[in-house]
């Protein structure tokens, strides 16, 4: 085609798009669809950039250990501290030479007893007392020294007196092959995040884009068929379709670009999930972000052309299509059961492959299910139209015939809702799967869990300064392994403390040199939880004596506790241990005890976050699809106004045409969800199917069906009032 012709076709398309039925609604739908697709692509680019930046900065701060015989310029070590059960790294560092290189992110060497905190720690809750926990805070670690702006990290230089209380390594600089530390040890693989974004945002975005592309399709399909008959080539029709869509698509892309700009200028903290995006990382991939926006605009236009009806293609009939015709439909109908079978059998593929196969099958099943529902609705309707029961009632007769003739209508109406059920269901399943592997939130937040902490230190005995710094009413009891078996396991635990401390734990107080045995079941329940990992269900040998290391080689382990109903100031205990026992003293409250990490649960907050955004996108898609179908539906029914003045028939037909398919799709969606989650539910670390969620989904479906019936019925009744005969 010549350039002039293309221009002409684009102009005609634009004019046709403006005047078409539902033209304005389609404009907004295309705009929103493009913007959401662009934002999703940008999220994927930003994720990749964030991971890359995090790894680069993480690698740059790894210490280069001094080789044997080489002069070390600083001493370096690290340990884990925790906040709300989530671990973070505290780096203990001390320069040995005047020209010792500064760790990335530090403006100067801290003096003995001084501390640099990352902004997340410096601005942490006052009750945690981060600014005094490790010494005197004199500054913050700048962004170059942090894996991400929200990372919790502290650089601590111990006082001269405390320097010798922990083992430290000699280092010569940074960026070496040493141990990676901080958030890099905690974050999951990039591919998981990409997959989560792909499923929870990508799928809804695609649904919205498809709904927008096919909105008001009936009129355009007719126009396409007419132009085809008049001899317009495929290219001419394509240019017209592009002309009709190019404006909203470009505006949508521009809006997405505008939305992205603030993220390039300042670090933005994402609401609710407490994660800060680093602008520097995003600026580095600015060109890729721009390309992502451009690709979404082009992709949207391509989708519009791809979803054009089969009838407009060469050689195809212009007669109304029967249900299940069309390659895409046949493909979907055939592959949906295959996806279901794959999901149910994916367990047998081995751990890594089965997860990928399951994800693939689940996405496939949800995407193809609307076609199956459309096909089934069409088959059922065709039979219903012939039954005396249905053919005798005007509304049921019209609904059955309309649904049988236009399975696409049902597909478009239910597609977004079906995918929404899939997204909501999978969000719940993945979240429960991750929480099953995370620590117990109830334990974490319990007052009892904060009334005892286990302190582990290389010091041999308590210091007076430590005891004086403990919160009021705190007692200390040393704990250790006793009666060690040849295989290295311990048959009992030893508890040792002065009488007053033992009594505070309701333990006996045997005379010096003797032991009293207390069975496991009679121990304070906090002790049972705290020592379970190390000691299991072993009895305790109680001794009266000073709080000092039971096994000198392991250093002192002690429980610090208050009364069961009186939560202890845990940060004060951490501070006391760090400043007065050992710079690397570990303090773990019972609330945070367990092999399970709370990090997994914390990281899984991304899933409901993205799932909620995805569901909102799908609801928009659903509203658009429903609006589009209402308009068509109203158009179809308008001539009935010739036959009756009563509006009842419009409402009843709306119930059968819109409400019943939605109700049916909701029930089928819930059923398919229950079937699809079977491979991942059950077992100790398996996901839990939430029946509350199923009930909520069915209730929401019922409400949506009622809303669609009311809106569809009243739109049709209103249209019928102003209806005038016209050429069809």
């Amino acid at each position: 085609m010549k350039r002039g012709q293309i221009h002409h076709m684009l102009r005609i398309g634009r004019a046709a798009g403006r005047t078409a039925e539902g033209g304005r609604a389609r404009f907004w739908a295309l705009l929103a669809g493009t913007a959401v697709v662009a934002v999703t692509l940008c999220s994927l680019v930003a994720t990749a950039a964030t991971w890359e930046g995090r790894e680069q900065r993480g690698a740059a701060r790894v210490p280069t250990l001094a080789d044997h015989g080489h002069q070390a310029s600083a001493l370096w070590s690290r340990y884990w501290d925790s906040y709300q059960g989530r671990q973070f790294t505290v780096v203990v560092i001390a320069p040995l030479t005047k020209d010792a290189p500064l760790p990335p992110g530090l403006a100067r060497w801290p003096a003995p007893g001084e501390v640099f905190l990352s902004p997340a720690l410096a601005e942490g809750p006052a009750s945690e007392d981060f600014t005094h926990r490790y010494g005197t805070t004199v500054g913050t670690v700048s962004a170059e020294g942090l894996a991400s702006p929200g990372e919790r990290l502290a650089y601590v230089r111990p006082t001269t007196a405390m320097l010798g209380t922990a083992r430290m390594e000699g280092i010569t600089g940074y960026g070496g092959p040493g141990p990676v530390f901080g958030d890099l040890r905690i974050v999951g693989p990039q591919s998981s995040m990409m997959a989560v974004i792909g499923v929870l945002l990508g799928l809804p975005a695609l649904g919205l884009a498809a709904a927008a592309a096919r909105m008001g399709a009936a009129g355009r399909d007719r126009r396409d068929a007419l132009l085809h008959t008049l001899g317009a080539g495929r290219a001419a029709r394509a240019w017209m379709d592009i002309g009709a869509a190019v404006r909203p698509v470009c505006i949508g892309a521009a809006l997405a670009a505008l939305f992205t700009v603030p993220f390039l200028l300042v670090d933005v903290q994402l609401p609710w999930i407490d994660y800060t995006l680093y602008a520097t990382d995003l600026r580095r991939v600015g060109a890729t972000l721009a390309a992502a926006v451009a690709v979404s605009a082009l992709g949207m236009l391509a989708l519009i052309l791809l979803l054009r009806p089969a009838a407009a293609r060469k050689g195809a009939s212009t007669r109304p299509r029967a249900a299940g015709s069309g390659l895409l439909r046949l493909l979907a109908l055939g592959s949906c059961p295959a996806f279901l079978v794959l999901a149910l059998t994916s367990r047998s593929f081995g751990a890594q492959r089965s997860a990928a196969a399951y994800l693939f099958a689940v996405v496939g099943a949800w995407v193809t299910l609307p076609w199956v529902i459309g096909w089934a609705a069409s088959r059922i309707s065709r039979r219903a139209a012939k039954s005396p029961h249905h053919s005798g009632a005007p509304a049921r007769l019209i609904a059955a015939r309309t649904t049988a003739a236009r399975p696409g209508m049902v597909v478009r109406l239910v597609a977004a809702m079906i995918i929404a059920i899939g997204v909501i269901g999978q969000t719940q399943i993945i979240t429960s799967l991750l929480f099953a592997r995370s620590g117990d939130e109830e334990q974490l937040n319990s007052a009892q869990g904060r009334s005892m902490a286990l302190v582990q230190t290389s010091a041999i005995r308590l210091t007076d300064a430590f005891t004086a710094a403990l919160p009021e009413g705190a007692h200390t009891v040393a704990i250790g392994t006793g009666n060690i078996q040849p295989d290295g396991s311990s048959a009992s635990r030893v508890l040792q403390a002065p009488c007053s401390d033992l009594r505070a734990l309701r333990l006996p107080c045997p005379p010096a040199g003797q032991e009293a045995t207390v069975p496991y079941g009679e121990l304070d329940k906090r002790l049972r939880v705290s020592g379970y990992q190390t000691f299991g269900q072993t009895p305790a040998a109680v001794r009266t004596g000073p709080v000092s290391a039971i096994n000198r080689a392991e250093g002192l382990q002690a429980v610090v506790f208050t009364d069961l109903d009186k939560p202890m100031d845990i940060p004060a205990v951490k501070r006391a241990a760090h400043l007065h026992l050992s710079v690397k003293a570990l303090t773990e409250p019972v609330a945070e005890d367990g092999a399970k990490s709370f990090t997994v649960g914390y990281q899984s907050r991304w899933i409901p976050f993205l799932g909620t955004i995805g569901t909102l996108v799908l609801l928009t898609a659903m509203a658009l699809a429903a609006l589009s179908e209402f308009l068509r539906y109203a158009q179809t029914l308008a001539p009935i106004t010739v036959l009756t003045g009563r509006s009842q028939v419009f409402h009843t037909t709306a119930f059968w045409c819109l409400g019943v398919p939605l109700l049916g799709a909701g029930a089928v969606g819930a059923f398919v969800h229950v079937v699809l989650v079977q491979p991942v539910t059950g077992g100790e670390s398996g996901a839990t199917l939430s029946w509350d969620l199923i009930t909520a989904v069915l209730t929401a479906t019922g409400l949506l069906a009622a809303a669609a019936t009311a809106a569809g019925g009243s739109t049709a009744a209103r249209r019928a009032l102003t209806w005038r005969p016209r050429a069809d």
Binding site: P320, L397, T402, R406, P639, I640, L643, R646, R726
Partner: protein
């Protein structure tokens, strides 16, 4: 009162019998009677009673279905707005024959609006509509 439009205004997905019966059903007639009368009417008007969707009928057939639909309630007056405007000559004659046979066969009045003198000439009385006003009668 029954009404026939220029373009039929039938529901395209329904079969001809269903389109005609729908009018009776909406009027409260029971199913068997509505379908029975519809078949009879379509038979009389020469429309094949099949399960074919109305959208697949020819223009003339569609108009005869529209006439049948207008007649099913046994109206006292049948109004027809350009009923042959979209038809070829043969179909036009067939539909006009059908329409103009109605008053004699069913004892009801017929009021037709048309541009076609050939159709108008079949009427007992013709009135001209000029500039939106009735110009005279003969």
């Amino acid at each position: 009162m029954g009404m026939v439009f220029q373009f039929g205004e039938l529901l395209p997905e329904l079969s001809p019998v269903e389109n005609v019966a729908l009018a009776a059903l909406l009027d409260g007639t029971d199913r068997d009677r509505a379908y029975g009368e519809s078949r009879k009417l379509l038979d009389e008007l020469g429309v094949p009673v099949t399960d074919t969707a109305t959208s697949e009928l020819s223009g003339g057939e569609r108009q005869r279905v529209a006439v049948a639909r207008a007649l099913i309630g046994s109206p006292a007056l049948l109004l027809a707005d350009e009923p042959t405007g979209a038809l070829d000559e043969a179909s036009r004659d067939h539909v006009a024959d059908t329409l103009f046979a109605v008053p004699a066969a069913r004892g009801c009045g017929l009021l037709v609006v048309t541009h076609d003198p050939a159709v108008a000439n079949r009427a007992d009385r013709v009135m001209q509509l000029e500039q939106g006003a009735l110009a005279g009668a003969r």
